[in-house]
Structure formats: C-alpha cells, structure tokens
C-alpha cells in the first residue's frame, strides 16, 4: 500500500470504527476513495473493528460490489437480467466484449474500461440498460454502446 492510501484508510477507519455495523460503510468509503479495497488493508481494518483478517476477507469477498484490485478509469456495467435479455442484452454483451477485447471482470489494456455484469439497474422499462460509472443509460443500441465506449476511452 502506498503511504497516502494507508493514511486515507486510517482516516476512514477513524470515522467508522464506532459506528454500529460499520464495516460495510467503511468498505464503501475506502472503495469510493481508492477505487478498490487493498488486501493489505485487512489487517488494520480488522484490528480497529475487532475482526480477524479472515473475517474481513470473508465480508469483502461475499459482496459483488467490492473489488480488491484497481479498476480502469471507467466502470461499464452491463445488465444481464431478464428484462434486458428480453430486449437484446445478450447480443449487446457479446458486442461489448468483442469490441473491448475483454471478458467480464477484466480491464482493457489501455486501462480505460473495466467491464462488469450487473443484475438489474431498475431501468427495466427502458431495457436494455447499462451503467457507465454512476450514470444509467437506457434503450441502449449497439451504436449508443459504441459511442459510450469511445467517449470513455478518450476521456480521463
């Protein structure tokens, strides 16, 4: 861990150590800040919250949202659930994978995009849906998907 990351993590720990059921909010704060939860932070998290490293690992690995390595600059989540399937999500998924040259849970070589599956974005009346970072996009066609990918690749 870089010194700065350690400092940030300690700051988050201070904020959440006394919060009831504070581990999830703490993990969210760390991931929001660093983009992921460094595995070598489990020890200091565990120490502060009175948990073993194995317990912290157990929690982090249980939840799909948490990641333990740095993602690309952008995260593209493709909805795979039924409503989006009814509107062509599977074809869109194949297209995205071949366009980006990666599978789910991987990051493009240029570090621009990490691709993730998601199971419903609550935008099912405008299926198929994807989420780029914090923004949902509905009625996604392959042109729209390509435009999103291009925009993400060329932005910081």
């Amino acid at each position: 861990m870089k010194a700065r990351s350690t400092q940030n993590i300690e700051h988050h720990i201070d904020r959440y150590r006394a919060v009831e059921g504070g581990l999830l909010p703490l993990l969210h704060a760390i991931q929001d800040d660093l983009g992921y939860i460094p595995q070598d932070s489990y020890a200091i998290i565990g120490k502060a919250l009175n948990l073993s490293v194995a317990e912290v690992h157990g929690v982090v690995s249980f939840y799909h949202h948490f990641r333990t390595s740095a993602p690309g600059r952008h995260i593209l989540q493709l909805c795979r659930a039924e409503s989006c399937q009814a509107m062509g999500a599977t074809a869109l998924e194949h297209e995205a994978k071949s366009c980006l040259g990666i599978d789910f849970h991987q990051t493009t070589a240029d570090g621009a995009i990490t691709l993730e599956p998601v199971y419903c974005l609550g935008n099912c009346s405008l299926s198929p849906s994807v989420m780029l970072d914090e923004q949902v996009h509905g009625r996604v066609t392959s042109e729209k998907l390509n435009a999103l990918i291009q925009a993400a690749r060329s932005s910081e």
């Binding site: 999830l24 993990l27 919250l49 949202h65 659930a81 419903c120 099912c124 009346s125 405008l126």
Partner: protein
C-alpha cells in the same frame, strides 16, 4: 411570473437524456429571454415518453415527449411554453388515458412535486398521516394498518399490521425500523421511483411505523445500484431533520426517530430480510434460520420491523384517509393497490398503480400496447427472477395473491417482464439456475450445488443431448431445491424453471405430452 417547466430527475428519465434536455431548455430560455423556472420532478411513470417535459399553463400541465436535446429549439419556436402545437405534444398530462385509468394512492405525488421540497410535500397532503398518528395510541396505529388489509409488497405478502403487532408486543430497550430498499428483482423499479420521486412518503411511513411499535432508530438498506436514490434520500432526510419531522423531538411531541441510509453491496440475497440484517450488522449476508423472527430478534438481536419501501410508503395514506379508504380497493384478500411495473419487450413500459384485480392482458395490451418489437408476446415473467413464466393462456389471471398462487405463480414485488416469440424458454430456465448459482449465499447444499448442477443439465438440454432423460433430472433437482432450501432463493428458483418447462416444452426439445412429470 416565470413559467414552470417540469423535467424529471428520475434516473430512468436521465437514462435517456433528461439532464441534457434540462440543460438545453435552460440555455435556450436564457438566449431567448424567456422567464422560466425549471423543476426537476419525479417521473410520471410513462417511461416510453421520457424525457417527458411538462409546462404549467392556466389549463393545467401540458406534456411533450419524448424530448431530445435537438428538439428543444424547435419546441421554443412552436411556443411550447404556452402549450403550442408540436408533434411531441400530448395535451394535458392528467388527461392521458395511461394516467387517468390508474388509482394512484402510494404514488399520488410521484411525478407531480419537486421530490426534495418539503413545502411541496406538505402542500400535496404530505405529513397528514403522521400528524394523525401522533394523536393516536400505538395500538390504534397498528390496528389501522391491520384493518387496511395491507400486505407486504416486498414479495412474501405478509400482513403488515400483524408484523407490527409482534414488534409492539416485545419489551426491549431498543427497537428498529428497517426499510428493505434492496429491490433486486429484474422488472422492478417502483421502490426506486418512490425514493427518487417522493422520498418523504417513505420517511413519513417509517416514522409512523416507529411511533406504532416504539422504535427510535431506522435504517434504509439501499442497493448500491441506485446512486441517485441515495442522494435524494439523504437530502430529504437532512431537510426532514431540520424541519423537525425527524430527530429528537418529532413535531414537538417529545418522540424521537433517527433515520439513516445504508448502502448495500450488490448481493441479491441481501434482499432476504435476515440476510439483510446480517449485512446491516456488517457481516456476510448469510441467511439466518427462523425462528427467531426478526420481529422478535432482528437487528443486533432487537425487535425489528423489516418492510419493503412500497409497504412503508403506503402507510401515510392509510393513516391520513383511514383503513377503510385503502381496503375498499382491491379484490379478495388482496386489498388496496399495487404499483405494477411493466417492463421487458413492451411498447409502453412504466409504472401503473392499480387496485388488485386487473388482469395481465389488460396490463400488457391496454396499458402496454403489446410488445416493443411488434411481435406476439409469448411469455411473461411476473414477480422477478424467482417468479413463474406465464403463457398467453394465463393472461386473463387477475392480479391477486391467491389467484396467482392457484396457478403456481407469484406476484412478488409487482414486476412484469414481457418476452416476444423470439425468446428461447430453455435458455431462460438455464438463466434462472445461473442466477441462483451466482447469488446463492452458500448456506445450504440444494441451493448452492443444485443451481450449478442445474446449469450443467440445462446446457445438455439446450445442446439437444438426451432431453427426456435430462428433463427428468431437472425435475428431480427442482424438487430437492423446492423442499430443501432455507430461503426462497433456492426454494423458488424452480418456479421459473418448471413453469418454463411445463408451458413451453417445445423449447426443451420435447413434445407437450412428454413434459408431464
């Protein structure tokens, strides 16, 4: 006076460009010197018309949609600020049949008000339920909710008043109200629309629940896929605190209720109430054995009400207008209204709040206008990923918990996902197993192992390898899961699987006659 222009901030509207449209309208108005006030409302639920822009005129609000940024300049040319003619004009919003034919009780304000404006909320009958509840004994509040016939809208349809009564009856130094806002079912978005479009109705409902059972602390467990709802809820909670509707002394009554939003982390099973409580405690979301019921030993071992967003958001109107008002809607033992979500391959998707009793066919064709693709609707899945697939021959079933259970189906959280005739039901059955395998909490073998086995067997069936033999295996596996799972994730995955098999055997490579168990 400036002209009011409503452009939804709802994330569905924003998923098709509402933010850009709002920006274009602001810029264009400034350029033309038009005096307007933009209000970012919730969505009216007519999602095929989003972004739906409304302008307030002396006759009422007039709707234009779907508006793209490139339409904006032309709309100004056509004088849309005064209801001018344009091909995107739909006339008075309230007069649109889609809205007129609904019974909006829980969704009374969604799409109409500015979601975070307390003033708007109160001007539209908000907080009347709480004021009445503050005058009532806890037992009387619980009785009112019981008499309304309200059943949990999260899926299990358990009577809300009875759950509250159990919590009220517990002696404890601390009790909790937990709102289940994990809304994981595909085809559902009513919770999201309430949280983004009328957050105070949920806050009010939770506050009334707290008064009813004697709780002082509440949590909203919100799925991480809803970042906009998080912002809106936190904003509304802050404002409610400042105005004395939450906090240490609710409206000077001396009663207190603290409310906090907690983010989930992308596990479907955490929508199951005991898994949710584990997660709120900061642990892995492993499902708990019941008993004890959460009502008796819930969050941190304390008596806890766990209710869905819609259940809680339906409470204010029940307290305001009385149990009978709510109970008079509906049929049989399904009382009141259900916010139905129409999704998938459907021309007019969105939110329809109707009294129980409307049929699927009316929803799919009268409201939905048939499929989006123009092809015949072949199957619908009702009630999320653990809900059965229904063929056309069952489209006349009225929405009613008991009528659905008679045909081995569920209403769940009220989501309806339509598929046209290009769907391969064997693949949907495979997906049901796959989803269960991905989301299983791993506590019991039938669910954890059975779902993975199910995927393998479905792969063989899809490849055309010995379908009769493998279908036999699917039935055996389903039996084991149905009977041997601790929660409904494993226990109901057979619903989509077997309903697909029974109603669409031809997709599994066999004749209808061979499909009988």
């Amino acid at each position: 006076m400036s002209i009011k222009v409503y452009i939804p901030r709802d994330s569905a509207a924003c998923s098709v460009g509402a933010d850009q449209v709002a920006m274009h309208i602001a810029v264009e108005a400034a350029r033309r010197g038009a005096d307007i006030q933009i209000i970012r409302n919730g969505s009216r639920g007519m999602h095929w018309l989003e972004p739906l822009v409304e302008v307030e005129t002396t006759a009422g609000r007039i709707a234009y949609g779907p508006v793209r940024p490139e339409d904006v300049s032309e709309l100004f040319d056509c004088n849309f600020l005064y209801g001018g003619q344009h091909h995107l004009l739909h006339g008075l919003t309230e007069a649109l049949p889609w809205l007129q034919q609904q019974e909006r009780l829980t969704f009374a304000r969604v799409g109409i008000t500015d979601p975070v404006s307390l003033q708007d909320y109160i001007a539209h009958d908000g907080y009347r339920g709480l004021r009445r509840a503050l005058e009532m004994a806890p037992e009387a509040i619980v009785q009112e909710v019981t008499d309304s016939g309200l059943r949990g809208r999260g899926g299990a349809a358990f009577p809300t008043g009875i759950k509250w009564k159990t919590v009220l009856g517990c002696e404890a130094d601390q009790k909790y109200i937990v709102c289940n806002a994990d809304e994981g079912d595909s085809g559902t978005f009513s919770d999201r629309m309430v949280m983004e479009g009328d957050p105070y109705v949920l806050i009010e409902g939770m506050t009334i629940a707290a008064l009813a059972v004697g709780a002082t602390k509440g949590y909203i467990y919100l799925r991480s896929e809803y970042p906009d709802a998080l912002i809106t809820l936190n904003d509304a909670i802050d404002r409610a605190n400042s105005a004395g509707y939450l906090g240490n002394d609710i409206l000077g009554s001396g009663r207190q209720f603290q409310l906090e939003v907690r983010r989930a982390a992308g596990a479907y099973v955490c929508g199951e109430e005991t898994s949710l409580l584990e997660s709120l405690e900061g642990k892995r979301g492993l499902v708990r054995f019941k008993p004890p019921l959460p009502a008796i030993e819930g969050l941190f071992g304390k008596p806890t009400v766990v209710n869905n967003v819609i259940s809680l958001a339906s409470v204010p109107i029940i307290l305001d207008k009385g149990a009978a008002y709510y109970r008079d809607y509906g049929m049989g033992r399904s009382r009141g209204t259900l916010p139905i979500q129409l999704a998938g391959n459907i021309k007019h998707g969105g939110l329809i709040e109707k009294a129980f009793g409307i049929t699927l066919r009316e929803l799919l064709y009268d409201f939905g206008g048939g499929s989006a693709s123009g092809r015949p609707i072949r199957a619908v899945q009702v009630g999320g990923p653990l809900g059965s697939y229904l063929p056309e021959s069952q489209f006349d079933t009225p929405l009613d918990y008991e009528k659905f259970s008679e045909i081995w189906a569920v209403l769940g959280h009220g989501g309806i996902v339509a598929f046209d005739d290009t769907v391969d039901m064997a693949k949907m059955a495979r997906y049901a197993f796959e989803f269960c395998a991905i989301e299983s909490c791993g506590k019991c073998t039938p669910c954890r192992i059975g779902s993975t086995r199910g995927v393998e067997v479905m792969d063989k069936i899809i490849a055309g390898k010995q379908p009769v033999k493998h279908i036999e295996l699917v039935r055996d596996l389903s039996d084991t899961m149905l009977n041997g799972s601790l929660c409904a994730l494993g226990g109901m995955t057979p619903y989509p699987v077997l309903s697909a098999l029974n109603h669409f055997p031809e997709d599994f490579g066999i004749e209808a006659a061979q499909s009988a168990a």
